[in-house]
Symmetry: D2
């Protein structure tokens, strides 16, 4: 694959939301409390789903199903601080019948460039709202989620 081909088919920018840091987010060490990053991740995932037409309250009411997180791998690289305006991304990297894995980043713009503060890989399952077991996502939902998958590396030959 040549650079020309790459620039002709750039990977789309991942879905992102702004998150402002308030007193509620900080702790006595003067930085954002470590559990709170998972709240920001959920905000970005929810807004990404809403942008794809998937409202979680409607899903719970109409399909009787909810997304539950099964696994989180999180790396804390640099602390976020009071007053920071962060960028939080949500980028699916795998979408199955009743499960998906999302790559998420927290960044802070500093002058010309973004500093990566935090990165996580989150696996969520789609399950019955009574938590009885996995539920297959409707085809339209799954297609919507797949739209944001990175382009597959295919053989150009």
């Amino acid at each position: 694959m040549t650079p020309d081909v790459i620039s002709a088919n750039p990977a789309p920018a991942p879905f992102a939301i702004p998150v402002r840091i308030y007193y509620e987010d900080t702790d006595i060490a003067g930085v954002v409390y470590y559990a709170n990053y998972l709240r920001y991740l959920e905000r970005a995932r929810s807004d990404w789903l809403r942008a794809e037409g998937i409202e979680l309250d409607v899903v719970q009411r109409d399909l009787g199903a909810v997304f539950v997180v099964r696994r989180v791998e999180a790396d804390y690289l640099q602390p976020a601080l009071l007053g920071n305006l962060l960028t939080v991304t949500a980028e699916p990297i795998e979408v199955g019948a009743s499960r998906m894995t999302i790559l998420q980043r927290v960044l802070r713009r500093e002058g010309e460039r973004d500093t990566l503060l935090f990165t996580a890989r989150v696996t969520a399952a789609f399950v019955a709202a009574d938590l009885g077991g996995p539920v297959r996502m409707p085809r339209a939902m799954r297609d919507a989620l797949k739209k944001a998958l990175p382009p597959a590396i295919t053989d150009p030959a």
Copy 2:
């Protein structure tokens, strides 16, 4: 009323629970974040109800009703700090058919005496779980709640 009579019928100590302060509770100012006191109040109210045989998850399932807070008046007197072991009280001062008012305090023991850090008056209503409107508490529940009311000031004559 004479001192003898008072000591013969002391007011019972209000229901109280211990609450330890962790990093999650503090903010960058080095003290407990102001909204978190309301979490401690709810812990004390829930444990008080449980001690009276009222489990909120059972109530929601069996009676289809929940307590919702209607009003809070809160005074912040002294800050609580990381590592503090606090005492949080719950003391009903009025119990109606579908509403109650609870006096709550947060104290910190210092040597021989307690320092009052925070005080609140919380009014809660008993409503349908679909939030459709007020629900009369069952007689047994109401009687249990009333047990902790302070003794009425009655005419001794």
Copy 3:
């Protein structure tokens, strides 16, 4: 006072921010957990101060002082729900040398009109960051805060 005079000197709209409701905000009763409203109030107060040029992290570092909440009176009128996009206001009604009182509302737009969900009156003191005692606000800060005070009721005669 005639309608003409009113429309010529309308009260300015209070400072307001949008707040989206996520899973993190709700509880098992299906509505926003009561302590979380105080987090939204703080977000609106912080953003109002920032809009007036007052950054709380800079204030803490440069003046060695912080705002601490002394009193909250809160009324819960209607529950906020998952997915709601709320409006949260901050409107000072009294600004003293080292203390201010702010009226705050949480509203939800429904069709043509706003439904009032929650209202609070918050009193905050400006104190030394080591919590040693009250600090007089710098004149410029106080003037900035007073700009948003409602117009005084003056004798039109």
Copy 4:
């Protein structure tokens, strides 16, 4: 190594604390919100350190250093529910000069046995309180932390 030797030198039970689940912990899906497990982990780590004579507020003041989390790997196995009384453990599995890794579990007793709800591996670094870089733990602190390490597998020959 024979069974006799094993029973003569059993691994000590890991440090554990009770955690009660309240309304504040749940979300609209009726279970504990996923970020909140990280709060329980921190409570168990803090209480374990306190039990070893290490008070985090004293450490921050006297040594000018704090523990910050660098990495979390978390698996959500079964949901915790309103009213549950959980057990949360903290068990160091590696203690270095300025870093440690802790294995943590959340369990719920059901009749005769414990059900494992959640498990995590948390890596924390000891850094300057101004977040300037890693700090070597004092020898006494490191020795205290190492006391709870599982017994090394040594050659019995």
